[in-house]
Symmetry: C2
């Protein structure tokens, strides 16, 4: 699956993933009112609003980016209707040819991780039939439980040609509290990185592994070090834009081949129309504003590669 | 909320939580056939089977245990219909007076954790209305992202009178890979434990905090040490029974007041009818077998306290 992602990155010439993290405050009033009129101020109404909002953005950007990354928490907060909007979004993105990275950050003891792996990137058997319940292409995985919490995902990567990104060094301010602590002189995130390479060696797909990692753009020096430590590991890089990461910071995350990283932007793209630079698009032009923000982000990243 | 849990533990005289982790292989053939006949060999059929299975167990044990712990992965693996069965199970357990610990192991950067907290133990605003999407009483939380990944949950604990259990030392074989690594001479899980106490001090409820922790029965010596380090932290203890933890191991997790811990058993209870000791109940008596297994577990734990 990582090779499919790389092929699409090369084709679109954009190492960019659009974070589909819809918040009701991002949804233009027109869409919100129509959804509430149709389904009431209910979880169903909220789910309808974010689904219509997503569709507009996907239509506007699907030819210029390789992938999207819906953050499942933004859907889960609207209960079952929200999760239905998540699934509808995954399916719609597939119809539009996009690769879908489910930002689910799941991880548990072995047998339970196996169920999560089936849910998101695998298949589950029901009697004589089998189903792909959420059917993302990649999922993000939390490593705190160690190898037996991650291995079931790696096995599904190999059997179903899917991928994962394991959290190594996250973009948030307090990520260092545990991740940066020194173990035998090395920060914990480096130990996790070593394990990611070990797990990843079992699911290679061309030059890179189906087992990638997450390293925040907000920690560029650590990114540079991890890039060298994990030459065959694709890095999913959150934290660009709204969280403070700049294009200059991103350079460190790429390999000399110009590959090896894909940069996420969520708010910066999907809520672009709220920013001064894109205000001219207005609420009704929120999707066009997103497209413009993607093109600007592409230019910004290209300027440093 | 922790006081409510303690009150129910005292009332039932059982520091026991039943893990509602239904696997299709646990569901008696009769229930499975009826569900498939009604809804087909579909995700809906699977969800119907586990929901009917759960109802039988909940009816059989709700007067003798304080709480249940549905593991959401076992529902998520059946997609949207599975998650609907999760929600139906939560609601049904509440009707029966049980406290519900959602074993969701969520955790993300701050704003995203806030959405998970709303989804599981809080409320979400939709226009002028507000809803409790999944409405569990407690949720389990992964600490790898540090304070800003956990704080949004703690805030909801205080504002909505709910609780969380933060993973400290998990029950699985490879939990030591990262959790046991020494940082300044102390294992990482102890650093996490210190943070749990710090977070918990902001949401006290009687003698204990609404912020509890998870420590596996499979690591009794670490349990003893953590019990002393965290006197006001309630410990959710998985790993008893099927995973290998014994009653003798459990002693270490309790305070001298006989409180401070609640022990989970999943397979050992819900699939008891498959074990030699309870075979006499037969498939049709699976729920009675569960009740007998709870009573035996209670006796087993009581023998060492």
């Amino acid at each position: 699956m990582i090779q499919k992602l790389i092929d699409r990155i090369v084709k679109t010439d954009a190492p960019i993933v659009v974070g589909l993290d819809p918040n009701l405050s991002f949804v233009p009033q027109g869409i919100l009112h129509r959804a509430f009129e149709e389904k009431g101020e209910t979880l169903e109404g909220a789910a309808e609003a974010i689904w219509q909002f997503n569709k507009g953005i996907v239509d506007a950007v699907s030819d210029i980016v390789p992938a999207v990354k819906p953050q499942i928490a933004m859907y889960e907060q609207f209960g079952i209707p929200g999760l239905k909007a998540f699934k509808d979004t995954v399916d719609y993105c597939h119809e539009k040819g996009l690769i879908v990275i489910g930002d689910v950050k799941r991880g548990d003891i072995g047998s339970t991780s196996a169920s999560y792996a089936k849910a998101h990137i695998g298949r589950i058997e029901v009697g004589s039939k089998s189903y792909a319940p959420f059917d993302e292409d990649f999922a993000t995985v939390n490593p705190y439980l160690g190898t037996d919490g991650v291995k079931p995902f790696v096995e599904v990567c190999s059997s179903e040609d899917k991928g994962i990104f394991v959290l190594v060094k996250t973009s948030n301010p307090s990520s260092g509290e545990f991740q940066d602590r020194l173990v035998d002189g090395k920060p914990l995130y480096e130990l996790v990185a070593e394990k990611v390479c070990e797990w990843g060696s079992e699911s290679m797909d061309g030059d890179y592994s189906n087992v990638g990692c997450v390293v925040g753009a907000t920690y560029p020096e650590m990114g540079a070090r991890l890039r060298k430590l994990m030459p065959k590991t694709f890095i999913l890089v959150p934290g660009y834009g709204a969280q403070g990461g700049t294009a200059e910071d991103l350079k460190n995350f790429f390999n000399p081949d110009g590959l090896g990283a894909i940069v996420n932007s969520s708010r910066g793209i999907i809520a672009a129309y709220k920013k001064d630079e894109y205000k001219k698009y207005g609420e009704d032009g929120y999707a066009e504003a997103s497209r413009a923000a993607v093109l600007d982000m592409k230019k910004d990243i290209k300027s440093v590669l």
